[in-house]
Symmetry: C2
């Protein structure tokens, strides 16, 4: 596995239950570039059940959420790098989340999430995400992510 | 606490990670009537972090998802009862989920979810949900829930 955007989050912002590397209870979603897309993989536990045999939809929404904010951060970081700037990796929160469950997601195979930037404007990034098992898209999501304001970050550092 | 709709789910459909009474790892969301609204409460764990001090958005989406399908089931059950029918409590899956994070949800207080039926048409029920802490609405959600087809249920019983 390559380096994930979540590896770049500063320690005080690395506690997210979905994707924080420092949260020992969490899912540890890792968002990695693959060309112009981002990818993350996740292996559900046998207890992540919706109805028997299928993955719990709340988990799928959670993975889409974190891969969405991760993709937004990765895109913002890439834009900074392209511009020759060396600021800290931006960190995003979710303003809105939309999930369409196209078909039940079988419980067992590894899940693959792919993210694409739909829109970047100021501090807002819109990310489209597909979630697949064994090459079949089961879920589509859209995350509207907003970069955390600086005054918030400063209050967290106190 | 009164009786929850999830108490009426048959055993083979009571394994959901979000709301199944038989899933020992799960959240055990319990959806209860309060007049024409439904209510559920949830106490996040100290590890359900987004950024420090605030609740993980994926958990909030998960709670909205399960309270949404629970509210749909409760409304369908009430409609059956009103019609004098005695069929098994209908069970719903989520077709789509939309969540607007209006403000960060503080981590610590108990969360209260309230559901209202927006639309019932055939096997489809649309549920609007608010999620509050200490009287402040932090998140709004909408769940489009669809009653599980009978042939699916029969295949699960095998």
């Amino acid at each position: 596995m390559g380096e994930a955007i979540q590896d770049h989050y500063p320690d005080h912002l690395a506690w997210c239950y979905g994707c924080g590397r420092l949260n020992e209870h969490g899912h540890h979603v890792r968002t990695i570039w693959d060309g112009d897309e981002t990818v993350a993989v996740f292996q559900p536990g046998p207890y992540h059940i919706a109805i028997p045999g299928y993955v719990y939809g709340g988990l799928l929404a959670s993975l889409i959420d974190c891969h969405g904010t991760g993709t937004a951060a990765a895109a913002a970081e890439r834009a900074l790098t392209t511009a020759g700037e060396t600021a800290e990796t931006p960190r995003f929160l979710t303003a809105s989340l939309h999930v369409d469950y196209l078909k039940p997601t079988p419980l067992g195979p590894t899940l693959e999430l792919r993210g694409r930037i739909k829109e970047m404007k100021g501090r807002k990034v819109v990310v489209e995400i597909t979630l697949s098992t064994e090459g079949q898209v089961c879920v589509r999501g859209e995350v509207v992510a907003v970069q955390i304001p600086d005054h918030y970050l400063q209050s967290l550092m106190k």
